[in-house]
Amino acid sequence: MTPQEVRAPTTTVTYREAIRAALRDALRRDERVFLMGEDVGRYGGCFAVSKGLLAEFGPERVRDTPLSESAFVGAGIGAALGGTRPIVEIMTVNFSLLALDQIVNNAATILHMSGGQFNIPLVIRMTTGAGRQLAAQHSHSLEGWYAHIPGIKVLTPATLEDARGMLWTAIEDPDPVLIFEHGSLYNIEGELAAEAGAVDISKAAVRRAGTDVSLITYGGTLGKTLQAAEVLASESISAEVVDLRTLRPLDAATLCDSVTRTHRAVVIDEGWRSGSISAEIAARIMETTFYNLDAPPARVCSAEVPMPYAKHLEEAALPQVAGIAAAARHLVTGHE
């Protein structure tokens, strides 16, 4: 090994720890930053993300709130208008619906309605997704809904680097940014550069290069999609995996470039198929690179049911490795 090949030092961290490090970093670097939400303080965070931060930063900056999603999200908007940099945590995307008025009618509109006078530098974090047998009021993937709304940005970190880096980029953004953390990711563990920091949020990332088919996904289904690509590789099908990373603004160029090269696309999304972000992606592909396609774009989405509790039913409702591989195989070979 030559000195040039010495790797940057890394540490072994979980996704949860990466977000906690990003929160700590933000609270240390900028006095205007504060965290608020249900049980972020004494409890340590519903998913233990903010554990230890109360002791380090005190109750003013790690602020427990009552169960008043609309008021504390709205207060985050107001506090951002007032010159602070709030990070608001909502336990799950399902609960964020109680704050939908504030997010859609205020956070997303005030810059525009005020003719550019008032921007809202607000970050809202929440858990999304299924896979933990939490049934139909704690398991849905509604980030695609939020991606419908102009005026907000929608981030879906799927890797340790993005868990660590997207938060800081979001805090520096002058406009409201929503970060969706898939609940199944908190315990994933891996090596993260000790110096890991802010990341670009404007680009999708090719997580695995391939030539026969593009598998396009984000967030909680990236892992399953990479596993499917591995299965396909064993059958001599070369799958490229594109991680969208940001659902709004959507980096259509990167995903369409990939499809233009592979001529085939499968979109994998834990949201429902109808009226979804997967529909949007399929439409962008059709609009942009239709004549380069060798087959119609395919989609692997959740079954159109409220998420059931029973494990076997939940598994059946969600995109799985076998189904992703089958959809890709069908596009490439004509057989499932």
Partner: protein, 327 residues
Amino acid sequence: MLSALDREHAMRLLGEMLRIRRFEEKCAELYSAGKIRGFLHLYIGQEAVAVGAMQPLLAEDAIVATYREHGHALARGVAATSIMAEMYGKVEGCSRGRGGSMHLFDAATRFYGGNAIVGGGLPLAVGLALADKLQHRNRVTACFFGEGAVAEGEFHESMNLAALWELPVLFCCENNLYAMGTAIERSESETDLCLKAASFKVPAWPVDGMDVRAVEAAARHAATAVRNGGGPHFLEFRTYRFRAHSMFDPELYRDKQEIEQWKHRDPIPALAAQLKQEGALTDDDLTALETGITTEIEEAVAFAEAGTWEPVSDLTTFVYSEGGGAS
């Protein structure tokens, strides 16, 4: 006999109320002429509340208002020219024509809108006050809303948060008895609004909203308490809207007699009569006041007429701060 200072102040209160009244009468006329479109919610009858409550507020304080906010914007010092241009949808408007009548914004006077979701402004006011508290600034956020907002969950959540965190919010509830067409008795099991506020341990009291001096006195008392670290305060201003809810309202829900009765308590002639009695106002003074206001409104209309339309090529600016239309 009023002192010169008191007379000057009283004349200002009268002038401000009259100015709002005449401005909105002109708006109604321009609406009929098709110059102003969309929704237009007139404040006529309630002027004493905005004018009186604005008096103790300082330049560094913040205002959050509702879709019936022309009076608040004018009383706060947003220029009549830029408000009228906004009504016209011109780029010279205070929101560059992006907001219209319901969404007047003005950074210079810390006027945070014009919120057209009933109750939607209350959490914003809580947040503005939280920012002041976190940054150790001694400022007041005044939040105006109607009694209709009291039925919204956001009212209860916001009152609780403000009280729990002892935030400097002055909640100004304008009880004009009707949430659009629904009388308060038909929508609230408990119609004593101060009782609701008190249940959050927020000091609260009712005020005659048709008496601008009473409004000012109450607002000054409450704002001083808020500014001195007394936590949020709630004022219920009992008032009445003389005009329809909006320009599309045939007013089937209240009878003419009730409106006429309230008009006897019109805050503008009421103050004028008081001042005359106090020997502080002559008919000539009133004429001079009217003349000045007529000129200001004519200038506002001329400004709006001469205003320009924002180029359509700018359509997607201000969706994000960098101005880029994200794909």
